[in-house]
Amino acid sequence: MKVGLFIPCYVDQFYPQIGIASLELLQKLGCEVSFPMDQTCCGQPMANSGYAHLTGGCDTNFVNNFSEFDYIVCPSGSCTLHVKDHLHSKENEAAATHIRNNVYELTEFLTDVLKVEAIEGNFPYKVGMHQSCHGQRGLKLSQMSELNAAPFSKPEQLLTKIKGLELVSLSRKDECCGFGGTFCVTEEAVSVKMGQDRIKDHEAHQVDYITGGDMSCLMHLEGILKRQKSNIKVIHIAEILNSI
């Protein structure tokens, strides 16, 4: 199967190791993966700021880059959700529809399409899972604590065979970290407070690492951790899954 790798713009430019880990992991699992060089961005920062009407050109570019693939996989829940919910193209709606129907966040691609139950790996640390909101409540990557429904978690399921990894149970399992796109600067005080509180929860459970499926959330938490000179590090789940 032909997989088009969709890398969020800030991952491309600040966390390339996540793109590399995602690529290598997918190839290990038998996918033919390419990265379309002309991709730019999914347009979410503009749309979430109320400028969805300006994303036409960006969307067309996205469609041009990804229409030929069987699947489009992205190591980010929020970017994936945005494309899934909002990608349209005046020039080629059929292609846009194909993409919307076949775009996957990395962990759900593994569990739902590749039917992988768990990945063998090595990560002997205490880890806290940060449930990014768009992935969780938007893509249904894991059960939501508000609902009276059976628990499940695709990312946590994938981690069960990682040697030495101890996943802690947080006090507030799925509270938002406060990144929220431009929210992180337009509502800086609340954004930081939310991030600090998430970190306190992980600290209380003595984690070595905070992981998750969205580097945007982790970047925000890492920014606070570094300012606090904390020993806790952040790592995207792709890197843990690609550990061996």
Binding site: C9, V11, G43, C133
Partner: protein
């Protein structure tokens, strides 16, 4: 209406200056959310209940014209006098005229967010009518001359020391006595006298039944009943969206309301008023005040399903860390942010942006309003209507041009790191708010696409 409203972001920044207090506010409301969870998880058919309530309200919104007339006809048959108010001002005038007709200058009120929305108390005060709020939380904030900060827990932003000081000043309670039992007892005595002496009582309406012309008022304290059953005149005020079609539908809503609001299985009293007491006059004021406009907004119509439980506020991580007052509206939090722009887009343009769109609110809403989706949609409307700063629009247009054009993006990316230059949260200068309390990530040696291009070239060269 205040001319210079403080926007949410500024108010929230102030709120966060007192770290201890914001922690306490956040933990207190999270605790209420937890109680709601416990209660909801104890009902196996909880999600079915939500779906049922949602569908009942969908039916109501689609048949409002019929149900309202049915309700009015039945209520009149029951001996209730029905009034219609197009806006808050007319509502206030109607209430005033009823009071004036009876030659009375004092009224006791039980909780009604609608009357907060219409600024009834101020209007009546300007016209020489004293209003006493009998819900304990409302009573406290009334003495302090502040608005309620939460639609169900009006005084949630206050500590017992604050209440003690207020009661000492106004009721003469012991200075420094913070005991909630003692303070509540003082309020009980004071308000009991109010109930026994006021000839006019005003209540809100939680639900109004089209089939029977009755309405329901839910309280834990019993204050609505104490007021109404002792008064010669009972005035009930309702937004027209409070309708339910048939009496049996109350079963669904009364199972959801208190559990969603506070985690209780039901409020202590769920009082069904159908006919006036013998010798009593009962009035209902049906209010529009922008609701019919919202009804016509296809994307936002569902916000009218709201039963005012407050669950969305309790779960909202932003509300918990900014407090109700920072939303500058009678109804705050997530639901307030999708209702308020309809009332005044200019004043409330900040509210749909006071959110990370985490979606927790949508999940706790007992009538399944798609709150976080509506927040996103309001953002589009507000930008189109011109309620965002021009500088932002210019920046966004610039960004959109680059993102549509890969070659420009790659140049921008390579030379100056497009993201760090353009993404509002990453602009790399000391004026960026990101820097206040966070470190910026360090740019790596090469970007992913540089790594990939190199690898592609290497494998091509190898062939």
């Amino acid at each position: 209406m205040k001319e210079n409203t403080i926007d949410h972001s500024t108010a929230a920044a102030t709120f966060n200056k007192d770290v201890e207090r914001v922690n306490w506010h956040d933990e207190t409301l999270w605790f209420v959310r937890s109680k709601r969870d416990k209660s909801a998880h104890a009902i196996p058919e909880w999600e079915t209940l939500r779906e049922t309530a949602s569908n009942i309200k969908n039916n109501v919104l689609s048949n409002m014209h019929h149900y309202l007339q049915e309700f009015e006809a039945k209520a009149k048959e029951n001996g209730i006098i029905v009034h219609w108010a197009a806006d808050g001002d007319e509502h206030n005038k109607i209430v005033h005229s009823i009071i004036a007709k009876h030659g009375v200058t004092q009224m006791v009120k039980s909780k009604s967010m609608l009357t907060e929305e219409c600024h009834l108390n101020e209007y009546l005060a300007d016209n020489g009518i004293e209003v006493i709020d009998s819900d304990l939380g409302e009573f406290i904030v009334q003495l302090r001359k502040e608005p309620p900060s939460h639609i169900v827990l009006p005084a949630i932003h206050l500590k017992k020391e604050d209440v003690s000081d207020t009661f000492h000043e106004h009721l003469g309670t012991e200075k420094g006595n913070n005991n909630p039992q003692y303070l509540t007892e003082a309020a009980r005595k004071e308000l009991r006298d109010t109930f026994l002496t006021r000839k006019v009582a005003l209540t809100g309406v939680n639900f109004a039944v089209a089939e029977t012309g009755e309405f329901v008022v839910c309280t834990n304290e019993g204050n609505a009943d104490m007021g109404a059953h002792l008064a010669d005149v009972h005035i009930a005020c309702m937004g027209f969206e409070k309708l339910v079609p048939e009496r049996k539908h109350l079963g669904v809503f009364l199972r959801l309301l208190a559990r969603s609001a506070t985690g209780q299985p039901i409020t202590t009293f769920s009082s069904h008023f159908k006919k006036p007491r013998e010798g009593q006059e009962m009035h209902i004021v049906i209010v529009d005040n922008g609701r019919s406009t919202q009804l016509g907004r296809e994307e936002f119509r569902n916000s009218l399903k709201c039963i005012r439980c407050g669950a969305c506020m309790n779960t909202c991580p932003v509300y918990r860390r900014s407090g109700g007052h920072s939303y500058h509206n009678a109804v705050a939090g997530p639901i307030g942010s999708i209702l308020a722009p309809n009332l005044d887009m200019k004043k409330n343009a900040d509210l749909p942006f006071a959110s990370t769109l985490c979606g927790s609110c949508t999940n706790v809403c007992p009538v399944k309003i798609d709150i976080h989706d509506q927040l996103y949609k309001w953002r589009q409307v507000l930008v189109k209507e011109g309620y965002t700063p021009t500088s932002k629009t210019v920046a966004m247009k610039g960004m959109s041009a680059v993102l549509a054009n890969p070659s420009v993006f790659k140049i921008a990316g390579k030379a100056g790191r497009f993201v760090i230059k353009n993404m509002p949260f990453m602009v790399n200068n000391s004026m960026n708010a990101w820097y206040n309390q966070r470190e910026m990530p360090t740019p790596p040696q090469e970007s992913f696409r540089e790594w990939y291009a190199k690898r592609q070239k290497e494998s091509k060269d190898k062939k």
